[in-house]
Amino acid sequence: MQYLLMIYGDEKAMASVTEAQGGQMLAAYSAYAEAMGKAGVLQGGNRLRPTAASTTVRVANGKTTVLDGPYVETKEQMGGYFLIDVDNLDAALSWAERCPGASTGVVEVRPIWAM
């Protein structure tokens, strides 16, 4: 089954980390992604720019509204994701708990709706 691991964290806190901390985090993420790749489960993943760079679009009654900012303002924001393919939820959860973001924020595990 395919699962999307959505990594949530406080992007304000993230913006104020030192260079050394940032380097460490990057190294942790790259090791994590490499491990998933070697295990043959990784199908994709990316880091997202902070929500300040977000733009929200809605079309209602034929009129398009474009808003500056994220759809919902939350204390923690989605900062990245991984798409994995594993046997079942237990396997997905065990990958999620190894994600560096799980110790600084939360990782939401959501099954992909197979078409």
């Binding site: 089954m1 699962y3 046997d87 079942n88 939820l89 237990d90 396997a91 997905a92 959860l93 099954p111």
Partner: protein
């Protein structure tokens, strides 16, 4: 449905009782679809009620039901897959169906995996016990709903949501590996104990359904002990349930009045059941890993020694509560330890321990705290304060029999206070 003779109905009921969980496990193991498995099995039972009066009860009723239910599952699968070319998968399924020999494939008991699915951490903790009762034992929704004091429609919705979640989220049908088994087993045992507690909370035994639920939970406990004989906490939870069940009849007097543990007549306890509990607890103790359920069972054991000595072993009880306290952060445990200390070291020492939790927000509306405090205060001779605490406890109690008991105690304290 055809008119059925009693022997046929009895035979199907007997199979249902003995092997519902086994059959569901057998069906879910192959598809991961719990709701579909239930539908297929209930179709198979309906087919049995129609067929058996005509053709006779088969030699292997369970195998018969398994085969028919498997075919129903295949039908479900066909219907669902019409829009897609799934011929490979279908061919495979058909092959398996013709090759399947239910009597041999059912030898492996898959109910353990089924219990781990029901108590999976991704399932809401509150629905785990109902889900287990439904899928492992085949209890119907109204029975489960009434035991958990929920409207049948609400319970039905929750069960359906949980079942669909198992399939959609991809919760695997498997027994966890050794490394995670103990942690996951805790959730299974908690769910079994929650089912027992739901049955136990009807002390008057007026609601047959809830009384039966305690028996069903004990049945689940026996099942898990037989499937995991080397897990001490499994034996612990079964022992705990048996100790409690053994005293069921003595919790109420002849007129339905509440009888506290201290006032229960030990000769009226179920001694055979206590014997089973003691054996289980000893066996669990020999396995070397202590846990919450073993400690709670051991406390029960220290209470039932009153059968021989005429007095609970309060020293042991105090020590066991202290061990439990280090394991949980529960004011309930501290309250119980305080009561034990009042017995071993005197009322003032007990009161000092109660004061430790007096500031905890959780005890402000917790009846047992106020009842315990009132009891200890009365022992200490502070009847005016005991009177106040009893009033508080009375105001927090929902069970009329317990309320009456507390009111008797309060009247005593009030009259001694004015002496």
């Amino acid at each position: 449905m055809a008119v059925t003779g009693d022997p046929v109905r009895q035979a199907t009921e007997a199979v249902a009782r003995d092997s519902y969980g086994k059959l569901i496990a057998f069906l879910v193991a192959r598809t991961g679809d719990m709701a579909g498995a239930e539908d297929a099995l209930s179709d198979a039972f309906a087919a049995a009620l129609a067929d058996w009066p005509v053709s006779g009860i088969p030699d292997n009723p369970r195998g018969w039901l398994a085969t028919v239910a498997r075919r129903k599952q295949l039908d479900q699968f066909r219907r669902r897959r019409t829009r897609r070319d799934a011929s490979d998968h279908l061919a495979l399924l058909a092959q398996e169906l013709t090759a399947v020999r239910p009597e041999t494939s059912l030898v492996a008991d898959e109910r353990l995996a089924l219990m781990f699915v029901c108590a999976h951490p991704a399932i809401d903790a509150g629905i785990r016990a109902p889900l287990m009762l439904r899928t492992v034992l085949g209890l119907d929704t109204p029975a489960i709903a009434s035991a958990f004091l929920v409207a049948p429609a609400t319970m039905g919705q929750r069960l359906v949501r949980a079942q669909s979640r198992i399939k959609v989220a991809g919760i695997p049908f498997r027994v966890p590996e050794a490394a995670e088994l103990r942690g996951r087993l805790e959730d299974v045992l908690d769910a079994i104990y929650a089912a027992f507690a739901a049955g136990w909370s009807d002390p008057a035994g007026t609601e047959v359904r809830r009384r039966d639920l305690a028996a069903e939970a004990i049945w689940l406990g026996r099942l898990i002990v037989s499937l995991l004989p080397n897990e001490p906490e499994a034996a612990g939870v079964l022992a705990l349930m048996l100790y409690a069940e053994a005293r069921r009849a003595t919790r109420r007097g002849t007129h339905g009045e509440y009888v506290s543990l201290a006032d229960q007549d030990p000769s009226a306890w179920d001694h055979a059941m206590i014997g089973q509990a003691e054996t289980l607890l000893r066996r669990a103790g020999a396995m070397g890993a202590t846990g919450r359920f073993q400690l709670e069972a051991a406390i029960q054991s220290a209470h039932v020694v009153r059968r021989q000595t005429g007095r609970s072993d309060w020293v042991a009880i105090e020590r066991l509560y202290a061990a439990l306290e280090s394991m949980t952060d529960s004011p309930v445990v501290t309250i119980n330890r305080a009561v034990a200390i009042a017995e071993t070291l005197g009322a003032d020492a007990g009161l000092a321990v109660l004061d430790l939790v007096a500031g905890d927000k959780r005890v402000a509306d917790y009846q047992p705290y106020w009842a315990a405090r009132a009891g200890v205060l009365a022992r200490a001779g502070d009847f005016a304060a005991a009177d106040d605490a009893y009033r508080r406890a009375i105001g927090l109690e929902a069970d009329p029999a317990v309320r009456q008991f507390l009111m008797r105690r309060q009247a005593e304290a009030a009259s001694r206070a004015s002496d």
